[in-house]
Every structure is written in C-alpha cells, then in structure tokens.
C-alpha cells in the first residue's frame, strides 16, 4: 500500500532501490531465509566439505575413494535397485492409475488418493514387519506357496537380499506411480478420443497415434522419479538388511553414525555428493518433462 503511494512520486535513486526491494523481494524474505538457511546452506556446505582432506586442505581424494570398493558396489546396487523397482512398478502402476481415473467413481478415486499418499510414505520397520509376516520364513504367503509346492526359502532368498528388498520396495513404488502418473491421465481429454473416433480411428489407432504419444513423456518422467525414490530409500533397507547388501544410503548412514570408520573423515560427504549428482540426473529431466507437459495438461 505504502509502496504504491511512493511509486507515484519521483523518488531518488536510493529510495527507488529501496522501494523496488520492498516491493519485489521483502515479502518473500521469510521463505527465502528458511529455504536458504535450512536447505541451501547445508547442501552448499556438504559440497564444500566433500572437497576437504582431514587437514582441511583441498583434495579430490574423497571422491577417488568414493568410487572404489566397497562403495562402488554400493552405488551399483543402489542404482540397480532404483532401476529395477521403478521398471517393475511403472507399467502396472500406470495401468492401475488409468483404470482408477477413467472408470472409478469420484469416491473411489479420493479414497485411492488418500491411501496412495499413506502407502507411498510407508517404509522402515513397519514395512519390514508387514513383509516378515507375509513373506518371512514363517510368513503366510510363504506357507501358502510352500503348500502349492514352491519353497521360497529353498534357495538363497531372504527379505534382506536384493530380490527380497526389490519386492518390499514395490510396496511404496506402486502407490507412488499411481500418484505421479494420475494427473497425466486426468488431463487426457475425452473430446480427443471422441474426435479420433469420429474421424474413423479405431480404439487401437487412438492409442497408437494419440494416447500413448501424449502419455509417454509423463510415463518416462514418473519412471525417473520412481528411480530417484528407490535409489535413495534408506529406512526400509536399514530395517531389512543386516550388512549383507551394500547400498550407498546405508553406507553413508554407517559413516554418519560412526559405526563404520574411514581413514578419510569427509568420505561420507563425498558419497552424499555423488548421490545428489546421480539423483539429479533423474529428477532434473523429470522436472523438465513435467513443466513441458503442464502446458497441455492445463485446462
């Protein structure tokens, strides 16, 4: 209000700067301060410290160690579990989102939205318990499968193994896929399929020429986000594995807790920075695709 009045006059240069500052930046200051102090500052410091040796001199040795064994295997396993869990969850999740959004009643859609929100956030010990109860050695599904002649535990399977963890990860990856892919389906306009049909397209033609090309970018974007989620999951892996499966988040957690000691004090920070870089390779394209498809998804 005041600033508008001042604007009407012919302020001096200093005052002009001040009013422009007050008008353009000041109201955003609380948010910028919080994000700056509680987010940008720690991340910048993390990157800075990752380049410091034990004597606080500049070095890239932390990164050299970070890409050697056993951390190399940690990264490979983490990337693998991210890719596989995303790949397995993506298509069924997309299909489920399609049927729920196009055929479900509004009540059903809202219930599923709430449930997906809760399920996508499950993890850690509660999730581990659920799978021990279902797929553990004494689990119900294990017993049922054994009754049917398939002994899960005859080989090397355990819930803490790679395959075991992969199955458990699907429990939050599938709902996450439903959440992130649903908006794309909602914005597929009914008119488009009707228009295509009026022009003589079959259902198959509509999907090949219109539906899939429109949804494909969002599908890839969702896949990338799922990858980032599986790649950086910590709580569930921490609850299920007992040091048998090297994963980067667990290795960082170990270094942070001081349970594992390394010759280089700042190794954990370097591992964190490499994780950020890998995660950025997935999330930044995700955001770019989202922004692009938001253009036609807007109504």
């Amino acid at each position: 209000m005041t600033s508008q009045v001042i604007e009407g006059g012919a302020p001096s240069r200093g005052r002009a700067f001040l009013t422009s500052f007050m008008k353009n930046i000041l109201p955003a200051a609380p948010l910028l301060l919080i994000v700056g102090f509680f987010f940008l500052f720690p991340i910048t410091r993390l990157i800075y410290v990752s380049f410091l040796s034990n004597d606080n001199t500049f070095t890239i040795d932390n990164f050299k160690t970070a890409i050697q064994e056993p951390y190399r295997t940690g990264f490979i396993n983490s990337i693998k579990i991210g890719v596989f869990s995303a790949a397995i969850a993506a298509f069924p999740g997309a299909l489920a989102a399609y049927f729920i959004e196009t055929r479900g009643s509004s009540k059903l859609r809202r219930t599923i939205a709430v449930m997906s929100g809760v399920l996508a956030n499950t993890g850690g010990v509660p999730l581990a318990f659920m799978f021990y109860a279902a797929l553990g050695i004494q689990g119900y599904l294990t017993k049922a499968l054994k009754y049917l002649g398939w002994d899960l535990y005859s080989g090397t399977f355990s819930l803490g193994s790679f395959v075991g963890l992969l199955i458990v990860y699907l429990y939050f990856q599938l709902p996450l896929m439903v959440i992130v892919f649903s908006p794309a389906i909602v914005s597929l306009r009914r008119e488009w399929s009707e228009a295509a049909r009026n022009l003589g397209a079959s259902q198959f033609n509509y999907w090949i020429r219109i539906g899939i090309p429109l949804l494909f970018p969002s599908f890839i974007a969702s896949f990338l986000l799922l990858f980032a989620s599986g790649f950086s999951a910590y709580a569930t892996a921490n609850a299920l594995t007992v040091g048998n499966l090297p994963l980067t988040p667990l290795q960082i957690g170990g270094l942070l807790d001081g349970n594992v000691s390394a010759a280089q004090l700042n190794l954990g920070k370097a591992l964190g920075v490499v994780m950020i870089v890998i995660s950025a390779c997935a999330v930044i394209p995700y955001l770019a695709i989202q922004r692009r498809s938001a253009k036609w998804q807007k109504r």
């Binding site: 299909l95 929100g117 956030n121 109860a133």
Partner: protein, 259 residues
Amino acid sequence: MAKALRIKFQPPLAITLLILGFFVFLPMLSAFEYSIRTPLTGGYGWTHYIWAVTEEDFLHYILRSMWLAGVTVLITLFVLVPTMTWLHLSNSKVRGLIDGLSLLPLVIPVVAFAVGAQISFPEFVQNTVLELPFLYFVLALPYAYRSLDIGLNSIPLKTITEAARSAGANWLRTITSVIIPVIRGSVMATIALTFALSLGEYTLTVLLHWDTFPTWVTYVAQDNILGAIAISMMSLIIPFLILTVITLFVPERTIQGRK
C-alpha cells in the same frame, strides 16, 4: 449416460483393484494377525495394543511427533501460503527463483541432506528439536508448493484480492479470511500432505539423532517384537485416519476444480 457408465460393473477396474488390494492388504493383514496374537494363552486379543498404549513412552513420543508435525503445518500456513499468494499477485522477479528453489529438495536424497544438516548448523540449532519442523518443511516443500500453486492458479486471484482490498480488508485479513477459504481445497491437501510426511519422517530424524514416534518403533522392536508390530500397525492407521478426516472436510468441488 455418465451415471449409467459409473454404475455399470467394470471388469478391468475390478481386476486392478483386486490385484492391488491383494498386494497392499496381504502384508498388512498378516502383520495385523501377528499383532493380535497372545502367545501366553494361544488365542487372540488386544494385549499388545493395550501394552503399547499404556507404555509411558507411547504418549510421550506420539505427542512429540504430533506437535512437531503441527509446527511444520504452521510454518507452511504462515510462511508458504502468504508468500505464494503474494508471488501470484505481484509478478515479482523472484517468482522464477522461488519456483525453482521449491522443487530443488526433490533432487537431494534425504540421506545426503541429513549429512549436510549435521555438519552445518550451529550448536544452538542442533540442540533444539525445533530444527526438525523446518527440515520437514523443506522436505515437504516440493509437494506443498505444487499443491498450492494449482489452487492459486485455479481462481481469479487478482479480482478477489482487489475486491477484498477495496472493501477495506488489510493484507492479513485478505489472506486469512478471503484467499485461504477460497482455495481451502488445496490448502487442506497441503496440510494433509505436510502433516503426514512430518509424522512419518524417519531417515532425517534418526540420522540427526532425534527420537520421535517412528524411531521409537525401531527401539521397541528390540525387546518386544509383537508389541512393536502393534505399534507399527498403529503408525499406519493413524496417518490414514488423519488424512481421511482432513480430505473428508474438503468439499469435492474444490478438489476437482481444475477439471
């Protein structure tokens, strides 16, 4: 026509729901069955739930998690909502910057964020549990921002604000009694999401050595496994109930206002 379609039985939908339901509920119900076992008598009962609820720590930790989540929601309401309203109204140059910043937490894995937080904050910040709501706020920011953005985009914000201002409302009043009620759908969604995320946050909390409800479950599991399963079941059901209640309050029109 639309009504007839909705009522008609939908085989693909039914099959989808059946498979999803199986995958979701089988582990849940299996764990539930464990949590109501009473090994001493060999039957079923609520023993472990009663044990958990009467534990002194139960109330302590659940209240702590609740108020931390409450503070996170307050930060969202008092900082994010006014700032975003202002950004939408003013076409300020910082809007692009804040747009980008708000999405950035998606890029950073929580574990890396925890390491950064541990080595950066001065002691007076690290010594108070109040650092957690601010960190939770950052974690929830990408989702909260998007959800509010949709809400603010879907209303004629400028007209509404000008009307309120010319009717004599000041800025605070415009935001609290005009704008927030108009976009209550997306505000409620944002609250639900922020609350749920804060209530269940584990990684950051445990790596910064704080104890909340989710980390307490891990601790209990070491000596009373069935009790811990009971608590785990509650930690799933409580956010579910809260979210359901919050979304029930939201009139349908605002949720689907974009369609």
